[in-house]
């Protein structure tokens, strides 16, 4: 298990949701927060590992870190 020291401002728990649910949950959260806010997305959907980096780059947000946990992945995204 790897850990980061990032303290997110908001957390979205999408474990159990199938794609594109987790990415849409992240987009929905990012839509409603101020620039500079760090959102952590928890997902156990394999496709999030490609969906989330692609979208954050496309939207100009920053993917600060990806943390692998035992049964899910945490994506830390800072809104531009």
């Amino acid at each position: 298990m790897t850990t980061t020291e990032i303290e997110p401002d908001e957390t979205v728990d999408s474990r159990g949701a199938t794609c594109p649910g987790p990415l849409m949950d992240l987009i929905g959260k990012i839509r409603n927060v101020d620039p500079g806010t760090v959102v952590a997305l928890r997902s156990d959907a394999e496709q999030s590992k490609t969906d989330v980096p692609e979208w954050t780059e496309e939207a100009g947000n920053e993917l600060l870190a990806v943390e692998e946990r035992d049964d899910h992945t945490v994506f830390y995204v800072e809104k531009a």
């Binding site: 159990g16 794609c19 990415l23 839509r31 496309e58 939207a59 100009g60």
Partner: protein, 381 residues
């Protein structure tokens, strides 16, 4: 002691379930051991798939309405009322027209989707949709007059009702203008929030080449942020701006606020076990159809199959037997690919969809099912 089952919502899920329970538990209901109440805030049952055809002048919203009383078994108590509070600890509902609370032993939430265009600035004023009776009629007025310009169909909110319907609309609009000799003067662009044209990768892979063949423009990773009705533009969070002459949108969807207020889930979607459909936040509460957050499409077929599972589980529980029926994610959808051709998909949690080659037979099958649906609502098909 009488077991009281209360079903909240008289759409496909609630209506099919009511008739399913009347069938399964008819003897118990007749003896007074079980009572089933269906609460809906409209005396009519509404079949929403009809709305796709309204903008093209092919159907009327009234074609999708029938009185609940004509569809639901006489053994079911139909109550036309609007529930204002759900208390899952006390197992009690408050309703606007009821002086006394409605007490339940089992509650089934089948309250469906509501539209929330107000979440995107300018969307309600600048966009049109075919996701309501009034919306489909207003879009018809625009579309029937439309002879040249740029139509943008933007999928703004997901999950939304009938995930195939945005694809169907652009395929139909392309064919409709083509057959009328106007397609060269009409540009069509389809936008989708993620990096492909549909949430399901197998359906996206099938649809994208058809869009290319038919000169339907595609903008992926397009999450609408704002609509400017004066300027005729829609702008995405990703920084893309599109000019439109007619904006057709799939607005953000929500469930009803009461679900979140009762602590059963976010945005009105009930957190459930996706196999048993039991709410995770309360005992003896089920959700089905759009209301149940299972990750499968918000589609009538899903509500129909889930109603059978919930009906079987409730009957088992009421009879003191272990409930063994589970939902396997089964979903069926016809997908119109033009004005006289359609595809068909069938899938579940384990098996992905594989769209059938489009044909006129499948188109007629879809139209035939839309008529036969009234048998489904009555629990006969």
């Amino acid at each position: 002691m009488t077991d009281h089952v209360v079903i909240l919502g008289g759409g496909t899920g609630g209506t099919v379930l009511a008739n399913n329970l009347a069938n399964r538990l008819g003897a118990e209901i007749d003896r007074g051991d079980v009572e089933v109440t269906l609460v809906n805030d409209d005396p009519d049952h509404v079949y929403k798939p009809v709305w796709l055809y309204v903008p093209f002048g092919q159907r009327e919203p009234a074609d999708g309405r029938r009185p609940l009383g004509d569809l639901v078994d006489d053994r079911i108590d139909i109550r036309i009322d609007r529930v204002t509070d759900i208390d899952t600890d006390a197992k009690r509902l408050e309703a606007r027209e009821s002086t006394n609370p409605i007490e339940y032993d089992y509650l089934v939430l089948a309250t469906g989707s509501t539209l929330a265009p107000e979440e995107i600035p300018g969307l309600a004023e600048g966009g049109h949709n075919y996701y309501s009776e009034a919306g489909s009629e207003a879009l018809r007025e625009e579309l029937l007059e439309f002879t040249e310009g740029h139509i943008v169909l933007s999928v703004v909110g997901t999950p939304h009702m009938c995930p195939a319907a945005p694809l169907e609309f652009v395929f139909m609009v392309d064919d409709w203008f083509r057959k009328r000799g106007l397609r060269e003067d009409v540009d069509v662009t389809y936008t989708y929030p993620i990096q492909r044209v549909h949430g399901n990768p197998h359906i996206a892979e099938w649809a994208q080449p058809i869009m290319e063949e038919r000169d339907i423009g595609v903008e992926t990773f397009f999450n609408a942020e704002e609509v400017d009705p004066e300027a005729g533009t829609i702008t995405s969070m990703e920084g893309t701006e599109l000019d439109y002459d007619l904006l057709v949108d799939i607005p953000p969807h929500r469930g009803i606020d009461l679900v979140a207020e009762a602590g059963l889930g976010d945005r009105g979607w009930v957190d459930v076990d996706k196999h048993t459909l039991e709410a995770t936040g309360a005992e003896n509460v089920y959700a089905l159809g759009d209301t149940a957050d299972t990750g499968v499409p918000n589609a009538g077929s899903v509500a129909h199959y889930q109603a059978g599972v919930v009906g079987q589980r409730l009957a088992s529980d009421i009879r003191g037997r272990p409930a063994t029926a589970t939902y396997d994610g089964k979903t069926l959808c016809f997908i119109e690919t033009g004005m006289d051709a359609a595809s068909f998909v069938e899938f579940d949690y384990e098996n992905p969809p594989s769209p059938a080659p489009p044909s006129q037979k499948l188109h007629w099958s879809k139209l035939a099912y839309n008529e036969a649906y009234w048998l489904t609502a009555r629990g006969l098909l």
